[in-house]
């Protein structure tokens, strides 16, 4: 198992390097001069030259790249122009609500998605399954921003049961109050992501339900409940874990729209603000940070999968 973890870490090194390259290049693909766009038309020639120097844009591309890589290795993701602060520090301040929101969303969607997925696999072809599958389709088809606005109107303005805006850290108001502030966005995210998890659960359960080993289990006299939920689910679990991991990672990367609408000062909110204010070093830093989180979560889900399914472990060795 340790061997597997080690290999998995080694395997993700090239992708990490690639992500560094891509997030470095992203600023260079933009048409025109990034500095000029950043500072606007009114900027003086001197300001532009200074900024260029500050961002190392006056140096040759390869030199810029090595500086970029060296900085990252020292955990320096660059410095924001508008905030005049290192990117990582800004992100650090923003990570708490995003992290909480991701946990609420993932937890809810898993709790809703997995049982409903198993149910619709069991009821395959029956009315229950058809209703559930339409529901899950609807849940992945609705635009989050639209639903969020309507929900705020319904539950925050018309019936005031949920707070609709802002977030205060656990330190300042306590865990429960913080969670309460995130309840409505959390529920929306949970329901929307539950569709995806439910669909994956159903698909992989249906696949597992065709397998011979379930028949063997039945022939041994194992109760139907255990046939499905022990023999079946443990096999289906690895692909479900992948989806859960994926949805957790994308929430950590920032539920951009939801954070924007609910005015939650999280990573997604930061990302969109940095884009709107054309703070390119900050965009670069955030992109890299989110991609690294993504890779890390992927790695963790793979390791969890290997723990569940010994076959995965051996295939890699």
């Amino acid at each position: 198992m340790l061997k597997f973890v080690f290999r998995r870490i080694i395997n993700s090194i090239p992708i990490i390097i690639l992500v560094m390259i891509l997030s470095f290049l992203i600023i260079h693909i933009m048409p025109g001069d990034p500095v000029r766009t950043m500072l606007g038309d009114k900027a003086s020639e001197e300001q532009i030259i200074n900024m260029r120097k500050q961002l190392n844009l006056d140096k040759p591309l390869m030199k810029q790249f090595t500086i970029w890589i060296k900085d990252i290795i020292r955990f320096d993701f660059g410095e924001s122009i508008s905030w005049k602060e290192p990117t990582l520090i800004i992100i650090k301040e923003r990570i708490e609500p995003t992290f909480l929101l991701a946990i609420i969303g993932t937890l809810l969607s898993t709790l809703i998605g997995i049982p409903l997925g198993i149910l619709s696999a069991k009821q395959h072809g029956k009315l229950t399954e058809k209703c559930l599958s339409v529901l899950s389709l609807v849940s992945i088809s609705l635009p989050a921003f639209w639903i969020a606005i309507i929900m705020i109107q319904l539950f925050g303005v018309n019936i005031r049961i949920f707070p609709v805006s802002g977030f205060h850290s656990i330190k300042s108001v306590g865990l429960l109050a913080s969670l309460y502030e995130l309840s409505l966005p959390g529920i929306i995210l949970g329901i929307m992501h539950s569709g995806q998890i439910g669909r994956m659960t159903k698909t992989s359960m249906l696949e597992v339900m065709q397998q011979d080993y379930l028949r063997t289990a039945r022939a041994k006299g194992v109760k139907e409940f255990y046939v499905l939920n022990l023999h079946g689910l443990k096999n289906a679990l690895s692909s479900i874990v992948v989806v859960i991991g994926f949805s957790f990672a994308s929430l950590l990367g920032g539920a951009i729209v939801i954070e924007q609408i609910f005015n939650i000062p999280g990573v997604g909110n930061l990302a969109i603000n940095s884009i709107l204010s054309r703070d390119y070093p900050l965009i670069q830093g955030i992109l890299l940070f989110i991609a690294l989180i993504f890779i890390l979560i992927n790695m963790l889900t793979d390791i969890i999968c290997a723990l569940i399914n010994p076959k995965v472990r051996y295939e890699h060795e």
């Binding site: 011979d212 080993y213 028949r215 063997t216 022939a219 041994k220 006299g221 096999n235 010994p310 051996y314």
Partner: protein, 327 residues
Amino acid sequence: MCKLLNIENLTIVANEKNRKVKITDNVSLSLNSGESMGIIGESGCGKSITALSILGLNNPNINIIDGNIFFENICLNKLSSGNLRKICGSKIGMIFQEPMTALNPVFTIEQQLSEPLKIHLKLSKSAIKSKCIELLESAGIKNASAMLKYYPHQLSGGMRQRVVIAMAIACKPKLLIADEPTTALDVTIQAQILHIIKKLIKENNMALLIISHDIGVISKLSQEVSVMYSGEIIEQDSKTNIIENPMHPYSEKLINSAKELNNGCNHLSVVNGSVPRPEENIMGCKFAARCEFCRNICKEKKPSLIKKNNGNGYVRCWKYINDQNLY
């Protein structure tokens, strides 16, 4: 004396799209305790489905529409699923065709092997472990205690099939059903597995129902043989009679080509055509289109299974039905 297993007029249909397709038609079999019976037939003749229907293991779209399956005078197909489960694995054990997929990849051999012991025998933990080792050893596995910690993918096909066998006999069932137990295995392994099954049924005085497409396998393990063709039993007799003197033209061809291949010959006798598809509606004998003795009556009316003149066997062919039996 009551029969151990008695299948009466079993008719099974599969629900496909908007129609129903008959898989087996009026299949009757019976087996006394300690006896062995083989069902031989080509792929798709309904032999496996018959065997799986005994324990109710068929897919939900395959249903018994007529007939009954009695095991020790209990009608299995009318039993509640809870009561049927008590028989599965304890009184009837089953060995499957594909050892590669029959074991659950995410559980160790010990976890899987101990399940029937836990469910039916309610043994203590320590007793289960020693019983597991004993079972694996009786299935011809030498380093049994080390094997317990393994996962299925770490074993070869032959080894996995031994584990499946050990699982099937864990509670010393009265009846063992083996559905093509060696088809997926190499010839040398096949010989080992057949020997193990033979040894185990003798030691535990189990009855055996073996399903195979290979007359060689059937002849090694069973005393009685039923030949199935396109969902029907067309001949049923002792093994010796079937092998030495097959009466139905199909069994004759089947046995002969097996003999020809085994003994080495210069030209194989050939039966043209192929098995009719289950959805084809055939009025007369299912084999008529491929039969060299085919007469008009064969195509028009289905022959019934009649007792052979010499001995206890049955055959379903107009050749042996006297004209007076046609009213």
